[in-house]
Assembly symmetry: C2
Homo-oligomer: 423 residues x 2
């Protein structure tokens, strides 16, 4: 094992306490013989066998008696180098490292293919939720068109609290903080970086070609207001941070942003720190996988299942199916072309003809309006619109044009709408 | 292929239309060379290659050039004999046959183990929902404590309609019938037989020992009334037909019955013909798998993924993990011992001391009351109670004792309560 933080320690505990069952399932002995950590002398909550801690990771990745390396360090470096050396030495690898896979996954899997070893990563997305293996194997008989996920527990907790209490983003973030759901720097969560890394992995598996995290446009939840959520409720929607990837004509569009979802959509009912991944396949239709997307024990349960699979492969001489998506670079659809719907609140002048002027702008950009409600009167006059599906770029052009109108004071709020039958 | 009904034809269509992709994933050619049906001359909607239809199933199960048999006939006979002959001839088998597996699964898997062939059945439970492979592999690193599923789409549609319209069971059944969601004889669905067969398979995989359908006490939804559902709503619950299996101290309890579930429970939001399986594991916590539990295309998508897995195994010389649960007979916990909670409506005499008398009966049986509401007055006086978790047997004894009281006119309604933290 490399690393002995929350996930590493929980993995050790499972491999130790459930050893008889795991060995029976694997048909092989499974023993943790070496654990590399920065400071082997540090006191830890989980007791390990005497003498197996080391401060030198080379003693793991270069020990010829070790067959499986569990990487539980996280981050790109030094994990990349250690995993590469383990693979070069013919070791199989289990990792939960989403940062690594979403940036240099292709290189890792190429090396694994050449060395003839398995690299499994069930825990990299959705913690203990079985989503990697289903995408890789269970849907091998189908074509996936779309993956839409709530893949960050912290932001889902924050949005759930805002929805249930009517409070602000800042209040909900403070509560998440008190409960220990946030990192020291919350930006990886609230700005959508974590969700984009996970989406990169999901999209790569679902569509069979590599989508790297830097290909994914990203918008976080810091600008979601209590007013947005209350407006969503009035319309029968919930607000969720969604990671969406679609395949259309051989090109892939992926994006992370807050969106309104109809309350009847299965993702709308995913509360608190739960994660869920919604998959649409040509034949299978709609599927959803829900569970605890983080935490030591759930994540470690996925790591342990990967260890069992590899141990079984070692005994049988088999190999797990390659994660073939990493062998091919995805054709990315320009974000501007992705069809989206928008909810929009405009503060407008309270005078005749405003609606006609505004509607004219949408018509000019070729966007149909699904519904419009005019509120007023006086200085507070507003238009609340929902558009039909049209390109992201056309929507952005429409917003610019609207902002240049004298009769539009400001775009008071805007948010994408997902999970309706048309988009 | 054996059989060419809805699932068989949809499987053929996928194997034919997606052939290039499936062969790329399998690393092998996949070709349907023979399809056995009762009447080969019958006109069919799906066109098949000339000359491959036969009226003689022996031409499938005894053809030495055939490596994989897809059984899509359903029912125990003649599927049992045909599959046994295929296995004896060294052929791998893919089946969606829940009746077969839930009755003689152990014999099938013993034969498969001896012959060294794979028998895969992802489509047997939940149609296209990947649940078999996750239970068999993804949770191999964990201990499952409980499986709770909505595994019958027809009854879930009926209960959803009753919940959303306030109508009766008969009205909702008639609507399900109009929409083609019912069988000619609806009893397999509404009496819970179908759910019990699927639960047998889920429990066997989750707990690693064989639970046959006849071990599973079963109660259908025909006696669920509009009043039950409206009472559930008042309490913040939905009514669902649940298939529940639990492991406790090495013994397994399984049962199928309608139950009230809190609206915040993920299963409560599963609507219409959707199926969902909720799994609780020691480390992974709570997981849910949702999707379309029936229909040709979703089911066929799961069959096709099994075909790809076997083809890959044939190429690599590997084998899929055995469905080990079928090698061991489960210790069944007597249904009377299973801890349950009940919602109960009693019509009572409107006189002082009734609550004390009724409460005394519960106390006598060692059952705590979680909440009680007294309604009245006059001839319509009722007590609405919810119990804390206690044995099914003690509850039944309590019901008998209550019915023998002069002050209790009748038990107007009773239903189990699931998905709360205590049970």
């Amino acid at each position: 094992m490399l690393g002995f933080g929350v996930v590493g320690a929980a993995t050790y505990r499972i491999l130790d306490q459930h050893r008889d069952e795991l060995e029976a399932r694997a048909g092989a002995r499974i023993q943790v013989t070496r654990i590399a950590v920065q400071d082997p002398s540090k006191r830890r909550d989980v007791e390990v066998a005497a003498g197996i801690m080391t401060g030198d990771a080379s003693e793991v990745v270069e020990d010829p008696s070790i067959q499986i390396v569990v990487e539980a360090i996280g981050g790109v470096d030094p994990a990349r180098d250690l995993i590469s050396r383990a693979i070069a030495g013919g070791k199989h690898v289990v990792t939960a490292n989403k940062e690594l896979l979403s940036t240099v996954g292709a290189a890792i899997f190429q090396a694994a293919g050449e060395a003839g070893v398995d690299v499994l990563f069930e825990a990299a997305v959705g913690g203990g939720i079985p989503i990697i293996r289903p995408l890789r194997e269970s849907l091998a008989g189908d074509r996936v068109h779309r993956v839409m996920g709530i893949v960050n527990g912290t932001t889902n907790f924050i949005l759930t609290r805002m929805s249930e209490t009517g409070g602000s983003f800042e209040e909900a973030l403070a509560e998440a903080d008190r409960l220990g759901y946030t990192e020291a720097d919350p930006s990886a969560d609230v700005d959508g970086h974590d969700a984009a890394a996970k989406l990169s992995i999901l999209a790569t598996l679902a569509f069979g070609s590599t989508v790297v995290a830097s290909d994914i446009p990203r918008e976080g939840i810091t600008r979601v207001t209590a007013a947005d959520i209350s407006a969503a409720h009035e319309l029968g929607y919930e607000v969720k941070l969604l990671a969406v990837a679609e395949s259309e004509g051989g090109r892939i569009a992926a994006r992370v942003h807050p969106a309104m979802l109809p309350k009847t959509h299965p993702l709308a009912a995913v509360r608190d720190v739960f994660n869920a991944i919604f998959v649409e396949g040509e034949n299978v239709g709609e599927l959803m996988f829900l569970g605890r997307g983080a935490g030591g024990a759930p994540t470690a349960s996925a790591v342990a299942s990967d260890v069992v699979e590899i141990a079984r492969n070692i005994v049988s001489g088999g190999r797990s199916p390659l994660s073939a998506g990493y062998a091919r670079v995805a054709a990315i659809r320009p974000p501007d072309e992705a069809p989206v719907r928008y909810y929009l609140v405009l503060s407008v002048a309270d005078q005749p003809g405003v609606l006609a002027t505004v509607a004219g702008v949408f018509a000019h950009q070729g966007i149909s309006i699904s519904s419009v409600r005019q509120e007023g009167p006086g200085d507070q006059a507003t238009l609340v619109l929902i558009t039909h599906a049209a390109g992201e770029g056309r929507h952005q052009a429409t917003f610019s044009e609207l902002e240049s109108l004298d009769v539009v004071k400001e775009i008071a709020s805007k948010m994408r709408v997902e999970g309706t039958s048309e988009a």
